[in-house]
Amino acid sequence: MNIKVRYFAAFREATGIATEILETSAATPAALFSECSARHAALQNYSASLVAVNDEMSDWETRLTDGDEVLFFPPVAGG
């Protein structure tokens, strides 16, 4: 299936990519993030703290379906 991935803030700078479309069999955002980390070595130093699917906050074990847009958010500022 095709999944659109968006990287924000530190993730965008680490990968040098804002958006990419992946042909993937990753069933969940967690599996997808592992796959992305394998492709972009710079992501291996980060744990994503929040994820959204189709502009809704999501959890890491949600089922992905073809055409989903997955947003990877580095940890937020925290204060």
């Binding site: 924000f8 803030a9 530190a10 700078e13 980060y46 744990s47 809704e56 580095p74 940890p75 500022a77």
Partner: protein, 144 residues
């Protein structure tokens, strides 16, 4: 009045306070986040907020509603800046008004705590050394 906004312009705190004016309310609590001139030993010159607006606004409004339901306050409103900011500017402001003060304090604190934890907003600090850094990303890297 209740709401949540993202703005690229300087925040007018008086406007926010006027949104929350309510003659049935005896208590008003406001939190401002100011741009600090230092962080973890480094001198900060200015900073930048990257905001993913569609989701930040949706989640921000949810947090406001949660606070109102949970603490029973009358009014709550928050405004967060996006983009480049100078020292001493207001990065975020939260205001709450209610008949009595205890719930106004609790609700205001809840809103800023949740906002810091849940909103897709990232802070990049520019230091006197010439470096720039996304705040928290060193720490998050070390906890992988």
């Amino acid at each position: 009045m209740n709401g949540f906004e993202i703005t690229g312009q300087p925040i007018d705190v008086d406007t926010l306070r006027n949104y929350l004016a309510d003659r049935s309310c005896g208590a008003y609590v406001q939190f401002d986040g100011w741009v600090r001139d230092h962080n973890e030993g480094q001198q900060v010159l200015r900073l930048e907020y990257e905001v993913y607006e569609p989701l930040a606004i949706k989640e921000g409004k949810r947090i406001i509603i949660e606070a109102i339901e949970r603490f029973g306050v009358n009014n709550a409103y928050a405004i967060h800046r996006s983009g480049l900011m100078e020292l001493s500017e207001v990065a975020v402001v939260v205001g709450v008004s209610s008949p009595h003060r205890s719930e106004a304090f609790d609700a205001c604190r809840y809103i800023i705590d949740q906002a810091k934890a849940r909103l897709p907003i990232w802070k990049k600090e520019y230091y006197a050394s010439g470096d720039a850094e996304w705040v928290n990303c060193q720490r998050c890297a070390s906890t992988v």
